[in-house]
Symmetry: C2
Subunit: 336 residues, 2 copies
Amino acid sequence: MRLDFDEIKNEIKRVFMKYGMSEEKAEACARMHTESTYDGIYSHGTGRVARFADYLKKGWVNPDADPTLEKDAGAVRIYDGHMGPGITNALYCVEEAMKLADRYGIGMVGLKNTTHWMRGGSYGLYAAKKGYISIMWTNTESVMPPWGAKECRLGNNPFVMAVPGPEGADPLLLDMAISQYAYGKLAMTRLAGKKLPFPGGFDKDGNLTDDPGAIEASRRILPMGYWKGSSFAFMLDVLGALLSDGIGAADIDHVGKGSCGGASQIMILIDPDKISGKERRDEVIRKAITHIKSAALDGHSAGVFAPGEDFARLRKDHDEHGIFVDDSIWKEILAL
Amino acid sequence: MRLDFDEIKNEIKRVFMKYGMSEEKAEACARMHTESTYDGIYSHGTGRVARFADYLKKGWVNPDADPTLEKDAGAVRIYDGHMGPGITNALYCVEEAMKLADRYGIGMVGLKNTTHWMRGGSYGLYAAKKGYISIMWTNTESVMPPWGAKECRLGNNPFVMAVPGPEGADPLLLDMAISQYAYGKLAMTRLAGKKLPFPGGFDKDGNLTDDPGAIEASRRILPMGYWKGSSFAFMLDVLGALLSDGIGAADIDHVGKGSCGGASQIMILIDPDKISGKERRDEVIRKAITHIKSAALDGHSAGVFAPGEDFARLRKDHDEHGIFVDDSIWKEILAL
């Protein structure tokens, strides 16, 4: 079905308040879930409401907690999230990091002891719309085998880079998990009776495969770039812990409070106005986009897109026809 | 053949001085080339001396230039490298970024208008040995097609993350180009009559292939993680330009002063002592390494390694038997 933004947001807000959140926090969280839905990231939008409500019900997320400042080291600040809602914790810390960037040009906040921040790209977009460049990531529980091994010991550690768009254009947004495919993509592809476009993991016999079911069974999802992504995921895990005085996958695995319960997030924010003028920056970005789009296309290609540009079409569709929500998901939300 | 560190370093230094570098700068550059050789990164060590000498000869690198401060924005500083030697420019800026990290907890230097910094990991190791955590990258000329295209419009934009090792251990070091394989690896594999371990690009007909010669011919090397690496490389290019008030691949392509001539490098340095104690950090790192190594190995695997750990064996060999230098490369250096 198609619904409008506030219709979705208010229903999600109702659910979150029912499970113990204050109106203010429920509003912020519901807005983020709705924005993810608007961008087509259903897995962290409408598709994630029931699970988050369940976490609240189980006491895995503390609906009342706010981050507290643990360490003030100039342009670096460490916050304890006290297992509060991942979204409000992360938003608070992005705001703090912006203030640091205002003052010092760059600011870093390490947020420990927090919960799932949902869509990482949300915070990159949020910062970009306010004029900041950002580099952010989260660590997670173990969901991916390190290179050379069969058992999961690495997080998929979503990594975000975002840049304010040129005048009138959307922000540039890189928002990538380090696994080549998400488990959601594997399930969807399997249910559609299809193969993955490229191998996404190993089967139980250790053969690289594009069969999503075989990878779901072995749990041997592939890091992007094989050994490269494995090392990258490891560094994001360790740096997540070190830069927040928090914990990594080895410990998150034992917290026992759901996906990302106890995880750390790192937000590095930069004020680009301290470096150059907006006009000059817009020119750099436009030139880079023109450059990649000037390449001759591969025969199978739908075009070359700048990171984040691919949301534009769906946003337009959602603006014109309402935001798509899966019927059964909506029924589930209404029933909560 | 096997040579000792100073023997290699002094010969390289002689060459660089012959081509116009001051003794001080030649010493710093020769040391870095030798350290890369010591770590087995021959492509940016002994294997790169003749090419760098050629750049000096052609005037593509200005042997006398030092970085000048263009903008001081607190914890962010912008330097102009004036096309000076990539190594001395980058080292200078890492030192400046360390001073910012000392003062503010985090510091970022954007270095524009510089030249090839050789092995990116050098600067991560350098900072880690002095106790700093670092995130660094460079942009480059176009060498890789963006996802969906056949022509090169993206740099391979090496990305570095480094962390001081636990007491008595080597630093953790991620030093990755965004292309799945370097052109050097393709050539070596082709000359050995072998196939790549995993597909590394597309052939001229657009088929994914593990045949290195077919990829060299098409120049369609693969970004790590397909579309993911393509977007990542784009962001590193744009951010390289924006955060240094410099230029990206679209313009670097037209500088006409060799690989990376006119490129930008970004150095983000963090003082971890401002966040937590050394003992706590060592515990986090040791636990993360123990965690990944506790996974059951794939049948073909030589083991699971922490990023940077794989250098230890070669370093030991080089300590015991002298540093390996290819006979013909050494002859070439002696003849310069």
